[in-house]
Symmetry: C2
Subunit: 628 residues, 2 copies
């Protein structure tokens, strides 16, 4: 808090912080009882810590909590939201009367925090992700912005079981993030029973220490101990030590109210209205109720992705063979050259996703995330929260490892970009564990996400540029084998949109494909043409948002018969996207076939597999003929 900047605390300061903690406990109880739901006891355990952070440690102007030089706070244990809101309101970020709107549909003070609230950088509530978001912001402050911003992350002890926390711990130590403090509220009570390590803060401490952190265990209700531990972060021992700081704070869930403290059965339950006076009496004196304030101070969200001049197209001649994954990497490097806000994170596959092109050109803007996809995505969310446009990449199938983190990124209104390489059975011999066959379903079901699927080097390049300009989350799906360049340098790829690659007035069927199967569709078209069957061929490079009206027009003009074909499982993929779009656009289909991979695939050559799993030119031609 701006009002208490002194680094070492006097008794007066400590007493003020203790009193503030008492007030935060009161707000937490009162607002959850009024809302009729919420998690007050998890607020009570962490109230002393949050008081010390907001009213002693953190440097920020409550009128501008999102200023570039403001310290950051991530509430990884998002269910303690009422405590965060109480601290923000007490600090003056919004009026105290706003707290009475907790959990109402009209209020930005939701059950778990989101960046609709000023000062909140990422949505939390799916546990174990906050430390990665914090690490992303600390990385940005230290390595990109090069400023003195400090990042504080408050975790619960229950979420210490999430592997994501340990990915983040290793990452933060590896990148020497001595501007990052993690505080764990070791209250020993999970939702359904005692936590794995109960009150053994020392166990958590040892694990942080083994991961390369400075780690101390303290009594989380001893304000002097809390302040002393937090102050070390800016003291001589840790400044420029290269070691992130962990504080393991033993606490009581429900601390401060005798009938709640360390009691089972209170997780996620507000104190009943009838019992509230009894609880508040223990925290007396209770301040008078502020006037209700129902004016939302919700932030405009959606982020502002990097702005930069148009990129010149690459010099891929028609027919030039290049894998879309490589064209993506080359585009990324060229983007980074024109926009200083483009950064990349990879998961030890930079030589497969071709993120390495960016690293080779701009090593300072490439971060090796090692084989830890969850942390990679949430670090990306942290980087995006600091104004960067992160491209995070791995094999498409391994992004499934971070699906929860991507889901939370959408709730965070983040504008991270993801690239999944090696999609489909066309990767060949490495076998099913390496084949992304559910990524379209996965990313299509992320609200607001764009899903792009280029078929050649030129479209891969142009779509990578588009992705960088798009607000919100975006996904680009790239292919392992080389494919011939189909498009010239002047071609535009609007979003939404598609390309009609083959057409005639005689068309009686429309084949819709993207990626490797588009090339199979073109082969099928040639075969069919030789047999006198006229088919339209569409490259659906933008799977989401889908140009339903445009597709409906093309399909109607070609006999209302459609064949979709994709190197993906049938469920949630390109075919379903197309068929649902046509149905809800009022197209009465005469016939439809959906070709997609069924069952668990196998090792083999790419051609063998495209054929065995029914998505090769031969199968496309047969499907067309079956519906004429």
């Amino acid at each position: 808090m701006a009002a208490m900047p002194q680094p070492s605390a006097t008794d007066q300061t400590l007493n003020a912080l203790r009193d503030k903690a008492r007030i935060l406990r009161i707000h937490s109880l009162v607002t959850t009882t009024r809302a009729g739901s919420g998690h007050p006891t998890t607020c009570l355990s962490a109230a002393d810590i949050v008081s010390a952070l907001f009213f002693h440690a953190m440097r920020f102007d409550p009128a501008r909590p999102d200023a570039p030089d403001a310290d950051r706070f991530v509430l990884s244990k998002g269910h303690a939201a009422p405590l965060l809101y109480a601290a923000q309101a007490e600090a003056g970020v919004y009026p105290l009367g706003r707290l009475s709107t907790l959990r109402q549909f009209s209020s930005e003070l939701e059950g778990h925090p989101t960046p609709l609230i000023p000062g909140v950088d990422a949505a939390t509530g799916s546990l174990g992700q906050g430390l990665s978001v914090g690490a992303g912001m600390a990385l940005s402050a230290k390595r990109l912005e090069k400023n003195a911003v400090r990042v504080y992350v408050l975790l619960g002890d229950g979420e210490m079981a999430e592997g994501n926390v340990w990915e983040a711990a290793a990452f933060a130590a590896h990148y020497s993030l001595d501007n990052l403090t993690a505080i764990v509220d070791v209250n020993a009570l999970g939702q359904s029973e005692r936590t794995m390590y109960r009150h053994d803060a020392e166990s958590h401490r040892r694990r942080f220490e083994a991961a390369g952190w400075d780690a101390v265990a303290i009594d989380g209700h001893d304000m002097a101990a809390i302040v002393r531990a937090i102050d070390r972060a800016r003291g001589p021992e840790l400044t420029r030590s290269g070691r992130p700081q962990a504080i393991l704070a033993r606490t009581e869930k429900g601390h401060g109210v005798s009938f709640l403290a360390d009691k089972d059965g209170w997780h996620g339950k507000p104190v009943p209205q009838a019992d509230l006076p009894r609880a508040l009496a223990e925290l007396a004196p209770v301040p008078s109720e502020p006037p209700a304030d129902t004016r939302s101070r919700a932030r405009a969200t959606g982020g502002a992705p990097a702005d930069f001049p148009p990129l010149a197209p690459p010099d891929y001649a028609l027919g030039f063979q290049i894998a879309t994954r490589e064209a993506y990497g080359k585009a990324l490097a060229r983007l980074a050259a024109v926009s200083p806000r483009i950064v990349a994170v990879d998961a030890d596959v930079k030589n497969s996703t071709f993120s390495e092109y960016l690293e080779k050109a701009h090593a300072d803007r490439f971060f090796q995330g090692y084989i830890a996809e969850q942390n990679m995505v949430s670090v990306g969310v942290g980087l995006a929260a600091r104004g960067y446009t992160p491209f995070v990449a791995s094999f498409a199938c391994f992004l499934s490892r971070a699906y929860d983190q991507v889901r939370m990124a959408a709730i965070s209104r983040s504008h991270i970009k993801l690239c999944g390489s090696h999609c489909g059975v066309s990767i060949g011999e490495d076998g099913p564990s390496q084949m992304g066959l559910e990524d379209l379903a996965m990313f299509r079901a992320i609200p607001g996400a764009a899903v792009l699927y280029p078929s050649d080097g030129m479209s891969a390049d142009r779509l990578t540029e588009s992705l960088a300009r798009l607000p919100g989350i975006g996904y680009i799906r790239t292919t392992r084998p080389k494919t011939p360049t189909l498009y010239g340098a002047s071609e535009k790829f609007p979003i939404p949109g598609f390309k009609v690659l083959r057409q005639s007035p005689q068309d009686r069927v429309t084949i819709i494909a993207a990626g490797i199967t588009l090339h199979e569709a073109l082969k099928a078209h040639a075969e069919l043409a030789a047999q006198g069957v006229a088919a339209r061929v569409i490259d659906l490079y933008c799977v989401k948002p889908i140009d339903a009206e445009g597709l409906a027009k093309e399909v109607r003009a070609a006999g209302a018969r459609v064949v979709t074909v994709e190197d993906h499982f049938a469920e949630g993929g390109l075919g379903e996207a197309v068929l649902a779009a046509l149905a809800t656009s009022g197209v009465s289909l005469a016939a439809a076939r959906r070709l997609a991979v069924a069952g668990v695939p196998h090792s083999g050559t790419a051609d063998e597999l495209l054929d065995a799993f029914g998505i090769s030119a031969k199968h496309i031609a047969a499907a067309v003929k079956s519906i004429l």
Copy 2:
């Protein structure tokens, strides 16, 4: 190996093991060069370890590697598959000549191992999951089977960055799995660059130790040291110590061939044919090539889920209010009473998913997985590999955390069952981070998975029983609020199938729903009927597999107009499943509307949210009228 059972190794034994390691290196090089792809250098680093495991430590009969008393081996670093295959063939699990089929479409010896191969319990190749699978098997051996089976897991150092490994490490220590040995091949080379900790085996050792393991660091090419370390597992120090064992083995990637050893740029590359003689010369003498053997010894897979007598239905009267999540929990407990093979794992939400009913009745068959969904799912795969039918449960949204593990479970042909509770916006005030709105898309895109979505207590009960009987992966989606019982005790719920709840010869439209929206559809039906509009209402309790033919018949009979409504995002959900099924079944729809949640939801009451996100009775009635 059956032939070398002595616990402490003589010089003769050590020399035999060294020679076996040499032979395994030769096979690894020869087979990958022949295949033209693969990861020989990662085989060379681990060859000494695997030799010691297969030909000294593990107790199993090569003719029956899957016997109940056979020790287990999990190759978590699945890309070292050629080494595993070489060891199995040398042990006699299949003929040596079979190795020449590596990575061929006709061969079960795929690029990464799967349970098509005898002795392999789970697919690996997505890194960082093997220790959880091993922990699941060790848990089963120790706590359920109560036998002397020992489980060995070989990990790479690159995958130590995966949080899943640390979830498993904490879990194994918590459950005192002293029948589990993890060996880490610290070869210091990832795919794209050096690993985070390079050759610092001590760092890994400290982290295992901090997690409660017995952990030693050794030279992974010193056969005496390897054997000594492995033998400790059955020695007095560790037997019944309650501590799992970790061996951190410093190795060289490519060890044994000078131009490969510890060299960058060789990951995932076979030695070119021209260079092979040079490599083999360093490993001489090379045994003569065995006759090729192309007869597959692939296992029949699909698993055998629990078999048990039919369960009597519960006594839920029509109209009785019960949440499907609670009916699921009650069914689970009753199933466990009739089948000793039913077990449950939960992620600290047993009082929300209602897994706690099973725990209360059969505490020995309930395992608390804490807040670590990745480990929970892969432990389930381990339990299933031992013949149990594990039901693993969390909030639907948090299963997204383990999507990669579910994906691999399908490749493992596992028969784990998953339950996702708290689906959709109908959970209310907790807000978007707690709402499962992508789980149908997620599980539909798992090959072979059944996706069930009950709307009332009776169907939830009956479908939980069906799930236990189904082979393969299955998912059941449960709802937080109570709903009235719609079905009587004699009702059957075939898979695939659906129920027509309202119909008349005058029907001009079909409303298709499930779960909470089915009840909204029934309200809409009443409203519409009062206005003289006849609509058919279908409960699509089985979203996958879908009874396309049956649905087509109903929809055609009711004017070929359809409205789908679901508490899920539009993409990959019930609506797309239905519209794609109708399109590919030849139904020419007159009109279609798909109601689903769009955008990021918000906190609020359940009714407020169903209405705000367009899936309440009011919106259904309006959609119906809009297409008449």
